[in-house]
């Protein structure tokens, strides 16, 4: 059990909702590829392999229902990206949404950035709950009136209508990436953002689509010399000049844009020294960082590699300050995980609002949480079998070897097709969104 931030009580996680189809036959388009809460937590966006975005909105808290927070209901859904074929390069461009990032709210409308492998789009989501009625030259059904039949004039007025939520693409940022975009990150200046592909990172202004600045370029002059690629990148939450990017070799580089226009020389290099006697064929593959996330405070950053989650203090480059094992029992299964490609799965990770707990996914629809203060961890399962609201989820345990206890599951029984790659934590509350292959689960802590 985990300690509630700031208090002595444990968090008890309960099932709240599940979205998506029940059937086991999953269409590829329905595979969820990204999950993200907005800055207030009121909105929850998902992207899928079919290029679609679905946004859920938390309903206003019902004063009489004190035992649970508002539910998330569909607010808007739209087709963000379409499949494309680049005939010049003979390249098929997937419509899969790799990342969604919300802009902080400035006015009545909401804005988000969504990206596939090649193109980033700025979407405006706005509400319409009134419409003008009583035009002089138009009938209510839109037909035009013959002006000669108009004998009196009236002033059109706004009348209420059923709420309509509209999504429209406001900016399209295209043609800036030769390789596949893995990350987008909005700067704390709320004017610029970065996009990162395997070899380059570009800086954009949200208002300008016809140019972007290249700020990192690790492409070698001779591609035969290629040894590592960029796997993730993020802006610092407070310092608008600072960003980090992680690599397939397990390193993280922190760059300061004030130092030079092209940040090929890092300001800091974070790397844990490797024990050479432990090196194996798999070492580099499992050290590849699949996600990097700054803490809300900006003091720490978290990285996810295949088997662990590491917390780094920005002031200490030579090793992480905390390391949490996600599924160490997989170390003795690396051969088969290499053969079935699971060793290349890219798990994400996230912080809770107060940076006291971190969460990441695993296989068999398990997900893990680590409390940084109590050093306790918990494994939970996203499954429709546990879907009674307000019933506390039972912790799961994997038996690595030897005699399996009752209620434990052995490593060989784990379903490696059931992966939880994407999770998100509400910025303020203990509400989490966990994506299985094609379903979205929402869990909340038990309120009494």
């Amino acid at each position: 059990m985990l300690a509630r931030a700031g208090g002595g009580n444990d968090i008890q996680w309960c099932f709240s909702q599940v979205k998506g189809a029940v059937d086991d036959d999953v269409a590829e388009a329905d595979i969820i590829s990204t999950v993200e809460f907005n800055h207030s937590g009121e909105l929850l966006a998902t992207g899928d392999k079919g290029g679609r975005v679905v946004i859920f909105q938390q309903e206003q808290e019902n004063k009489t229902q004190s035992h649970s927070r508002g539910e998330y209901n569909v607010y808007s859904t739209f087709q963000s990206h379409e499949p494309e074929f680049d005939y010049l390069k003979s390249l098929e461009i997937e419509e899969k949404i790799n990342k969604i990032r919300w802009l902080p709210q400035k006015n009545a409308a909401q804005f988000l950035l969504s990206t596939n492998d090649k193109t980033i789009k700025l979407w405006k989501i706005s509400e319409r709950d009134k419409r003008p009625e009583g035009y002089n030259l138009k009938e209510e059904d839109g037909r035009y009136r013959d002006p000669t039949t108009v004998t009196t004039l009236r002033v059109p007025v706004f009348r209420p209508m059923d709420l309509m939520v509209e999504a429209s693409p406001r900016r399209i940022f295209a043609n800036a990436h030769t390789y596949h975009i893995n990350s987008i990150s909005i700067n704390s200046d709320y004017e610029t953002y970065l996009s990162a592909d395997d070899l380059r990172i570009n800086l954009w202004h949200l208002e300008i689509t016809d140019r972007s600045f290249n700020i990192v370029d690790i492409k070698p002059a001779n591609m035969e010399e290629l040894t590592e690629v960029i796997t993730a990148a993020e802006f610092h939450p407070n310092s608008c000049n600072t960003f980090v990017y992680s690599s397939s070799k397990g390193t993280i580089r922190l760059c300061d844009m004030r130092a030079s226009a092209l940040c090929d020389r890092h300001s800091k290099l974070f790397e844990e020294p490797e024990d050479p006697s432990n090196r194996s064929f798999f070492s580099e593959i499992i050290s590849s960082i699949s996600d990097v996330k700054f803490s809300h405070s900006g003091r720490y950053m978290m990285t996810r590699d295949y088997l662990s989650v590491k917390i780094w203090d920005l002031n200490m480059e030579n090793r992480p300050v905390e390391t949490y094992q996600v599924h160490e029992y997989l170390r003795s299964k690396l051969c088969s995980l290499y053969e079935n490609d699971c060793i290349f799965d890219k798990f994400e990770c996230c912080w809770n609002g107060s940076d006291s707990i971190v969460m990441t996914g695993s296989y068999n629809n398990f997900f893990r949480m680590f409390d940084r203060n109590t050093k306790r961890d918990i494994t939970l399962e996203a499954s429709r079998e546990n879907n009674k609201p307000r019933t506390v989820l039972k912790p799961r345990k994997v038996c690595a070897s030897g005699k399996r206890k009752k209620d434990e599951i052995s490593v060989d029984s784990l379903d490696f097709n059931k992966k939880i790659l994407h999770t998100a934590w509400h910025p303020k509350e203990n509400i989490i969104a966990v994506a299985t292959t094609n379903n979205l689960y929402i869990f909340q802590d038990k309120m009494n």
Partner: protein, 117 residues
């Protein structure tokens, strides 16, 4: 090293040496897995994180179709059909001339996401 675990010759050694052998045999799980992999695929390259693996990652999505090649091959074959790529449509290798059927039929999904259902 790891690959030489438990070979017949060693089993005949004396007790003390056997114990030493056993200590050496408790290799890390990773090394044991590496041995398994190398036993299955003896031609596996030395550097897994090296160029080949990364180049494959960078070339994701690459498809091949040349209308000139296709039309010339069709003319040669006259009335016969050009062979399509096999079940593994992503692999166009050797003398196989890609046909339009080999190209991915990409259409955007006009269906609403089931999450919104």
């Amino acid at each position: 090293m790891a690959a030489t675990l438990g070979t017949g010759a060693r089993a005949e050694e004396s007790g003390q040496e056997k114990q030493d052998m056993q200590e050496k045999e408790t290799v890390t799980p990773e090394r044991a897995e590496e041995a398994k992999l190398k036993a299955k695929y003896p031609n596996l390259g030395q550097k897994p994180g090296g160029s080949d693996f990364l180049m494959k990652r960078l070339q994701k999505g690459q498809k091949y179709f040349d209308s000139g090649d296709y039309n010339m091959a069709k003319a040669k074959m006259k009335n016969k059909q050009l062979p399509s790529a096999g079940p593994d449509k992503n692999l166009v290798t050797g003398d196989h001339i890609p046909t339009p059927q080999d190209l991915p039929q990409r259409k955007s999904s006009l269906v609403t996401s089931k999450l919104a259902g």
